[in-house]
């Protein structure tokens, strides 16, 4: 027994040490490389590419990242960060340097933060306003012709029952319909409860907060909600026969895909490459890629690699 306690403690420490070693021994890119990234960039040339936490944005981020890598730029990825508040804070604070954005959405976001109102009515104006409104350490590069915008969709039975083709068709019937959209929809203008009320005079029977994507799609398909907020490039719209209502009063002018980038990272090479990507991206191509990501469950990285190869980047 005299020897016993020393033995026990030694065994105990060994066991814990082994457990710790086994746990630490695993190689993980996403966890180990970002500790240097958090410190403000591992080297001045490494571009850390971030993304929002939905597949459409992850796909675009993979395209940007792959294009830069094909031109010899050192790239790290920090994908699926969260919603716009989270990833904008990350790029503003220098933890990431590049991410794919959408012209109207990001403009509304920074304008609202500054307390102003959006006056831009087309992509050129949006980009100009962005370059003015963004903090000095951030800028946007050329916008793409590709768009991925918020759309109001209704499920097939509702669209047929009320002959819905455009958003203004909802003006009389919205009060009997339940709409599903992310929580921020409750306060958003133009594309939200207050915005739709202001522009279209709509008032829905009930608002159910749900994440954009399969949660809303499933609820639409089961008719737990009749209308919902999805993104225009999502293949689940056509797959389920949902009807995307036309924004006839143009609540949202354009949602062009545009790279949001740290000014210091926008070197000539990087800028040229990303502008090249933007010029080659288009909405149809984006939709085709989303089919692969959403229906075939092909990893975004693979779908991006395919597109890059087909468009002369690798």
């Amino acid at each position: 027994m005299k020897q016993g306690w020393k033995h026990s403690i030694a065994v105990g420490f060994t066991a814990m040490a082994l457990f710790g070693l086994a746990a630490c021994g695993s190689d993980d890119e996403s966890s180990s490389s970002d500790t240097t990234a958090v410190a403000g960039g591992s080297s001045s040339e490494t571009v850390i590419v971030g993304s929002a936490n939905f597949p459409g944005n992850v796909l675009l981020a993979e395209i940007y990242a792959g294009a830069l890598e094909s031109k010899g730029v050192a790239v790290e990825r920090q994908l699926n960060i969260g919603n716009r508040e989270a990833y904008f804070a990350a790029i503003k604070g220098g933890e990431i340097q590049l991410l794919p954005e959408y012209s109207n959405a990001i403009l509304s976001f920074v304008t609202k933060q500054a307390g102003g109102t959006v006056t831009a009515t087309n992509v050129e104006e949006q980009v100009a306003a962005l370059r003015e409104q963004l903090p000095d350490n951030l800028t946007v590069l050329d916008a793409s012709a590709a768009e991925d915008k918020d759309v109001l969709v209704c499920n097939k039975e509702t669209a047929e029952e009320f002959s819905l083709e455009k958003i203004s068709d909802l003006s009389d019937v919205a009060k009997d319909l339940v709409i599903g959209a992310p929580p921020e929809f409750a306060e958003r203008d133009p594309f939200g409860i207050p915005g739709l009320k202001r522009i279209y005079g709509l008032e829905f029977k009930e608002f159910r907060p749900l994440e954009i994507g399969p949660p809303i799609a499933d609820a639409l398909a089961s008719n737990a909600i009749q209308c919902g907020n999805l993104f225009s490039a999502m293949s689940i719209i056509t797959k389920n026969g949902f009807v995307a209502l036309e924004d006839d009063k143009v609540a949202v002018p354009n949602e062009a895909v545009v790279p949001l980038i740290a000014t210091d990272s926008a070197t000539d090479d990087v800028t040229a490459t990303l502008n090249d990507v933007s010029s080659k991206l288009d909405t149809e191509g984006l939709k085709a890629m989303m089919v692969k990501v959403e229906q075939d469950k092909t990893p975004e990285a693979d779908v991006a690699a395919e597109w890059l190869a087909a468009n002369g980047f690798t």
């Binding site: 919603n83 508040e85 599903g180 992310p182 929580p183 921020e184 409750a186 306060e187 159910r208 907060p209 749900l210 399969p214 949660p215 499933d218 609820a219 398909a221 089961s222 737990a224 909600i225």
Partner: protein
């Protein structure tokens, strides 16, 4: 942090409590989900626990299933079941019941099994049948430990019921999810504080109940088996 003073403001503004879908409404929903879950969990867990404790059989399988059940991330269960019937309540209840059953089964079984064999033998010697032994001897002696399991389950369920908000239902989790999405962190932090406070109050109430329900002879702080609490 100014966010904390904003949180205090949010919590102390009366209209936040009384308005539609305000704190009171969400608290009632949250309590409802928790109570429903615990009720169902008790109906499932107590008989299983008693059977295991009384017969001494099946404990290996039961214990390992309990460990496994405790490990199931509730979120994963809820989102999988959500697909079957979007916006329904039962996916959340199923997820929460999975959380609540293990501590109750474990404690019920341990409590029954821990009844002093001398007491049990005495009862048998008095001519009681197996059932009578269970009802008249084992159960009353087990109440404190069973209640401890219920307390543990209740705390976990209340904390985890915030998950209902993730699938568009109500409860205090609504403040956490919406607060974060709307960048109104006073709401998010306020919701978290409310959940914690509610859990503590319920835990305290159950502790008092536990004391009251402990037969006087057991009340004087006798050593209780291995203590632990768990959450998932």
């Amino acid at each position: 942090m100014s966010e904390w003073s904003q949180t205090v403001d949010w919590l102390t503004t009366a209209t936040n409590w009384t308005k539609d879908n305000g704190i009171v409404d969400r608290l009632v929903e949250h309590a409802g989900y928790s109570a429903l879950t615990l009720g169902i969990a008790l109906v499932i867990a107590l008989p299983i626990g008693f059977a295991i404790g009384h017969t001494g059989r099946g404990s290996f399988v039961a214990l390992n299933s309990l460990v496994g059940a405790r490990a199931i991330p509730t979120f994963a269960v809820v989102v999988l079941l959500y697909k079957l019937e979007p916006l329904a309540l039962w996916p959340v209840v199923v997820g929460l019941v999975l959380l609540a059953v293990p501590p109750i089964v474990a404690n019920a079984a341990a409590a029954i099994a821990a009844v002093d064999p001398a007491v049990r033998d005495g009862a048998r010697g008095m001519g009681m049948t197996g059932w009578q032994v269970l009802w008249r001897v084992e159960l009353p002696n087990s109440v404190p430990l069973i209640l401890a399991g219920v307390r543990s389950a209740a705390t976990q369920v209340i904390a985890t019921a915030t998950i209902a908000a993730y699938v568009s239902l109500g409860g205090l989790g609504r403040f956490v999810i919406d607060g974060y999405a709307l960048v109104q962190y006073e709401q998010a932090y306020g919701g978290a504080v409310l959940v914690g406070a509610f859990a503590l109050i319920v835990d305290g109430a159950l502790a008092l109940f536990q004391r009251a329900a402990t037969p006087a002879g057991l009340r004087s702080g006798r050593a209780v088996p291995r203590s632990a609490t768990a959450r998932a």
